[in-house]
Amino acid sequence: MGDEKVDRNNGSSRRPLDRVESVRMIHRSLRNTFSSTAGATDGDDSTAAVRLADVTHEYGSSGRRFRSSGERSVTALRGVSFEVRAGDVVGLSGPSGSGKSTILHAVAGLLVPTDGTVELLGTDVTALSDRERARLRRRHVGIVFQRFHLLPSLSARANVALPLVQAGIPRSRRRERATTLLEQVGLGDRVTHLPGELSGGECQRVAIARALATDPDVIVADEPTGELDTATGADVLEVLTDVGRDRAVLVASHDAATLAVADRVVSLRDGAVVDDER
């Protein structure tokens, strides 16, 4: 757990020093909270932040006890292998149904692939229990959704602070952290606004701030500009890549302008990698 990461969000010269210091303290606290994660070897630069090895996934092929043997299953991923290092922005491209979202869900530990391994900071996610995966995800993965998914009755600040509730962070520190993050995404004057009072682009920036609340090492974004016009989408991408510096960022999209911000694009078709453009 390096200090390098503690400083990651504090690059802006606009913030006063005391805030920088308090954010450092919050980060340190979060680090301490997270350090018990089983087997996570984050901070080891020689290790890829995310590594998929020969990952295959079939929907409808596992789990359900009463599933009839003749039921059809759909192969979403076929032998997918690639890795993402900290600081990389990797785009996932491909038509609908090509497996982009399935890869994001597998990386976030939201699903366990039928075959292959998914390593997150050196930990094999597929070997963990549901609870362990949830804990790993909570501590190391930030998720940005296409449709923002903000609670409409909570202010922007309260929405951003939500992930910190689970960590048992006191209210004053949650608020401070959320305000800092909203300032980072350019919404310092919108902290008490409700989602209904914000534009689509502002909502997505709130969602990005929420994804950063627990200072994750990996950010997965599923069509983050899908609901936005081109100019707003560009702004949001700028924010995402800016705050994503030093983190591993995976962006799934079939929009060329979105994928243009990626350092590298992995192209998928029918669940298989057809191109890994470096």
Partner: protein
């Protein structure tokens, strides 16, 4: 997680629930009212029940009689005013002659017409007793005493004492006072008997629910034309000192098998049994109010959970536990239950007081609704139950939505 962390998490869940309630004032007010109404229906009906039971017990206590002999009237709706007991004086004399009975006396009831002018009469209930007693608490004048031995008697066609105790309100209506004369009869045509007002008291009015008059039993029988058969509604008896009430009741029941013989406790029970349908209706109404309140509240908050299913699933994905997410919805239901309970309990005293005023002005019963501490405890306990049920059900619904499967790609 440390205790401080857990406390921070719980307070955050409550804070989130409060924030959501604050942002939806219409829904919050509606559900609070639903729970408050359910609580009110329970507290008010319980107050009425307590009041009625206490009034019945008080009445029987004030009558201070151990044994009641009566008979189910042919027409139950007449509630005993058919005077089903025949030969009341003789039975009373026989009872008084027993070693295990100290004294026995008959009571008859009839509707009569009274007035200062035979052409302007009011119909009121009349109670025929052998003598008045201290509990009459006369506002003016006095009662009447038995003359000599009250039991051996010859039937008379005409009233002999011609004394009457009337309700003070009736006295005001008629414009009469003690010492003046009014006409009494069982029909407008036969209201020719002149009775002297000897006192004013509301003693029997309290039980009968309207201004009543009290006259000597033999006079009432004469006016009603039941002297020949010597009819009465009840015969009440006091057991001798040292005698067992239940044993005396059993003896009398065997001897007078054509009548119902009850102790005062049995009598109170039988009064309620006669009103089973009314009680059942009341309980059903309360049940419906409670179920209605619970269903409305659960539905509204389950709907909130459904509307936010995508958000709940997304928050689950970003790491919030199912318990925390269910808590934010469930705590809303619990808070509504508690606030609704407090509102319902707080509204009980003024509404009960208003209903009491209404009951006093319409039927003459004072303090018909009584609100001991137990009534409030019952109301608040209901609110807690409603809140808990709503919290559990809506929390469970929310936790089902807070699932990765509900997350849209």
């Amino acid at each position: 997680m440390s205790v401080r962390g857990a406390v921070a998490r719980v307070s955050a869940v409550v804070g989130l629930a409060l924030a959501q309630l604050r942002r939806s004032p219409g829904r919050t007010v509606l559900t609070t009212l639903a729970v408050a109404l359910a609580v009110l229906s329970v507290t008010l009906l319980a107050s009425l029940g307590v009041g009625v039971v206490e009034m019945g017990e008080e009445g029987l206590d004030r009558a201070n009689r151990d044994i009641w002999i009566t008979n189910d009237p042919i027409d139950p709706s007449s509630s005993g005013t058919e005077n089903p007991i025949v030969g009341a004086h003789e039975i009373s004399a026989d009872l008084t002659a027993r070693d295990d009975v100290r004294t026995a006396s008959p009571i008859a009831m009839h509707d009569v017409y009274v007035g200062t002018d035979p052409s302007e009469l009011e119909r009121v209930p009349a109670v025929g007793v052998q003598q008045t007693h201290d509990a009459f608490d006369f506002e003016a004048g006095h009662g009447f005493e038995p003359e000599g031995d009250p039991y051996p008697r010859e039937p008379t066609d005409e009233p002999t004492r011609e004394e009457i105790v009337i309700d003070p309100r009736l006295a005001d209506d008629l414009g009469v006072s003690v010492g003046e004369t009014i006409y009494v009869g069982t029909s407008r045509e036969t209201a020719r008997y002149e009775f002297t007002v000897v006192g004013t008291s509301s003693y029997y009015s309290t039980y009968l629910g309207s201004p009543a008059v009290t006259v000597p039993l033999a006079d009432l029988q004469a006016v009603a034309g039941t002297s020949g058969t010597d009819r009465a509604t009840f015969i009440t008896a006091d057991v001798a000192e040292g005698a067992d009430r239940d044993a005396v009741r059993d003896d009398l029941a065997a001897e007078y098998s054509q009548y119902d013989v009850r102790t005062s406790d049995d009598q109170l029970e039988s009064m309620f049994r006669e009103r089973t349908l009314v009680l059942a209706s009341g309980v059903t109404l309360v049940g419906l109010a409670v179920v209605g309140g619970v269903v409305l509240t659960i539905n509204l908050f389950a709907l909130v959970a459904y509307q936010q299913r995508d958000e709940l699933a997304a928050l689950r994905a970003v790491g919030l536990s199912r318990r925390v997410l269910a808590g934010t919805i469930g705590v809303q239901g619990l808070l509504i239950g508690l606030v609704g309970g407090v509102v319902g309990v707080a509204a009980t005293p003024p509404i009960a007081a208003a209903l009491n005023r209404f009951a006093t002005s319409v039927v003459g019963f004072e303090r018909l609704l009584q609100t001991p501490l137990e009534v409030y405890v019952a109301g608040f306990a209901l609110a807690l139950c409603v809140g808990t049920v709503v919290a559990v059900v809506t929390g469970w619904r929310a936790s089902r939505y807070a699932s990765i499967e509900h997350l849209e790609a």
